[in-house]
Point group: C2
Chain length 421, copies 2
């Protein structure tokens, strides 16, 4: 092994160690303005790498106008659109504020954010509360119903969850994931087990801390009716687990993958906080009745952070039922995806295992060298938004991270090692 | 095909149709004395086919003395034992009273029983509330802690559950099972998904109907801490689904399998309510730390009713994680058990399918002819009790139904068809 290869090997070992030794704990729900003093009124955080209003896709624009009305920064959607085009709002990636958000991923100062602390390293990560399915802001929805729901999450469910989580002294998440993998979840397009397990833990504490039982019943009903409730928890967890692995000189491991509906962006440990971007691809999948690929917006959201820690498409072997939902082939072949992702990863996670694969650990720590060398692109399980603002989710599918990101990253990474491409 | 074979074929089609067209709904929780007017004070219903005190195994005796003290029919365990030996109590099988019970399966007049109604046929079936794990009466436990817990189930949780279930207008169970099969449950030794899904449905109604939030939190905690909570619901459902298939002339389908710790008993549709019994076998499995097969009581409980409707050992393919828990081999080979049980069953259930087997339905309707012909005995996933009274659960494993039951049943069945063995 050359000196350089040894250096990279040691750096990657450390990067993987930081992910695997993480102890993510859901510790509360907090208003964004309190948690993130840098986040000012008029600033809108979005999913994916940086993007301007001009280059934003339809559902992202729909969400931006909706959240501006929600925050009172615009009188209506038309006013919000005019202001956005006139530069009245500042747009920044969630990832620049310790945040992540699914699909459009709107984060603004009034919203309540779930907080995951990585107890091993002390760092915090944030994600808003999942809104449920259908016409919701993360898929570009922005009408009164959508805004009223976010208001309720902010005013009612967020504070109730915070009280319950604090009453419990926090909820350690690694064990929830370990269990969910034995129950058919991959924590991206299938979170029914983890959502149920979380509710089971939360319910007694919600009862103990409830102000009135009508509200309590409404909170329990909302969580119980949303099989994807846990997704946003898994995302904050992913961010909390990958952040400590950022900036390790010599490491070729991916620390973030995200999409804004226009560009796909990745970060690599050894190249710090630089984004490597390429155009997003179109998911291949299944559409809800009445919709087709012609209606679909390309790939979007910070949710690929779950693939970055070995879940989602990487843990497909644990979730045969998701294969049909996302139109990826025969359920009995779910393990094929996990085995393929093992080819581009640095380790298996010994704490997160897949029973039907005789307890093989989920493949963890994407090495950009292996991606470029094998040509196997990371597989991401994703929801699909309508390409027009205001419509919502139209399907779900599988999408590949674009090769361009990894090629650019490899060139930049090589340069940090003193190697010219 | 001979005339007799055609007759049997038609009768079995009808028997299977009755199982598959069943619509089991959990409709409430009721005191045994109200639900079962025939059940008098001094009568103790037990798991399995009929048995006298003299032939009862240790844990069954332990449970009998415990429940007699609980009911106030004896001053203490010694007194209960003397009275039992002196013939003071009447012993009858749960199955003779539309009931089922796991392991020792004690059912007496003061207990609260969950009620499942088969909406297609109108019949009702009953099972007590699951007590949790460890030292519990169904595994022969009988001390103060065990009796206090049953008192709480009777006085607090039972009425709370009844109010919640009635508030919801009942809980249809087929959809819960269908979902649980996609989440790694086989509903005998693994009920974590169904228990969580049930709690998720119940929680808002429990909140709406709660008298005080301290009690509510305690109820939610109890259900949430018990991964086997759903087992007793699945059992009452199994009884509700198989009962309408009893007594179809010419049907060679099994309508019940159960064990009292001494004898294994089966009923066959075409031979009505006659029991065919043979000595129970010893489960092969894994023991909790400090215990071994030397401590184990042989096979026990009415819970094999879930195998009778295609779940438990028959649905092993859905539950790779259970394979290790019961010591049955490699998790990746879970489907082997389901395929083998398919060899002795009349149909696959199109509504209860296994994703990892490309949505093959669980094998349903055991044909005694196929069992005797193939020599493949029904596989049952079971808990293992200590052979002494008062100890509790010591492990879990796989056990086979004994061949003798099926051979006797076949002879008797043949006689009903005018065929001499």
């Amino acid at each position: 092994m050359t000196d350089i290869a040894q250096t990279i090997d040691a750096a990657n070992k450390e990067a993987v160690r930081r992910i695997l030794s993480s102890e993510p704990v859901l510790i509360g729900v907090v208003r964004a303005s309190e948690a993130l003093p840098r986040l000012k009124a008029g600033t809108i955080l979005h999913a994916g790498p940086p993007i301007s209003w001009e280059r934003m896709c339809g559902p992202m624009r729909g969400a931006v106008t909706g959240i501006a009305v929600f925050e009172g920064w615009a009188s209506d959607l038309d006013d919000a659109e005019r202001k956005a085009a006139a530069g009245a709002f500042t747009f920044e990636p969630n990832h620049h504020y310790d945040c992540v958000g699914p699909m459009t991923g709107m984060t603004t100062s009034s919203q309540m954010l779930m907080v995951v602390q990585n107890k091993t390293f002390g760092n915090l990560a944030y994600c808003a509360i999942n809104e449920g399915l259908g016409k919701v802001m993360r898929f570009g929805g922005n009408d009164r119903e959508v805004l009223d729901r976010i208001r309720w999450l902010t005013d009612v469910l967020g504070p109730a969850l915070d009280a319950a989580i604090k009453d419990m002294g926090g909820i350690p998440l690694k064990a929830v994931i370990a269990r969910g993998l034995t129950m058919g979840d991959e924590m991206h397009q299938r979170n029914v087990a983890c959502s149920s397990l979380l509710l089971r833990q939360l319910a007694p504490a919600l009862a103990r801390t409830a102000k009135d039982n009508e509200t309590l019943a409404k909170c329990l009903t909302f969580i119980g009716a949303n099989d994807q409730f846990f997704l946003n928890v898994a995302m904050a967890m992913g961010k909390a687990m990958t952040d400590p692995a950022r900036g390790i000189a010599g490491s070729s491991m991916v620390t973030a993958m995200c999409r804004n509906g226009t560009d796909f962006g990745i970060r690599v440990s050894g190249t710090g906080d630089q984004w490597f971007t390429a155009p997003v691809e179109m998911p291949k999948g299944l559409y809800f009745p009445g919709y087709s690929e012609a209606d679909a917006n390309p790939d979007m959201g910070d949710s690929a952070i779950v693939e970055t820690i070995g879940l989602g498409g990487f843990a497909m072997g644990a979730a045969p039922a998701v294969v049909g939902f996302i139109g990826a082939g025969n359920a009995s072949e779910a393990a094929v995806f996990t085995r393929a992702m093992g080819e581009i990863c640095l380790a298996d996670n010994p704490e997160w295992t897949i029973p039907s694969m005789d307890y093989k650990g989920v493949p963890t720590g994407i090495d950009i060298r292996l991606v470029v060398e094998t040509g196997l692109m990371p597989t991401i399980n994703t929801g699909v938004a309508h390409k027009k603002p205001g419509v919502g989710q139209v399907g779900a599918g599988v999408v590949k991270a674009p090769r361009g990101c990894f090629e650019q990253a490899l060139v930049a990474f090589a340069a940090t090692m003193g190697v010219k491409a």
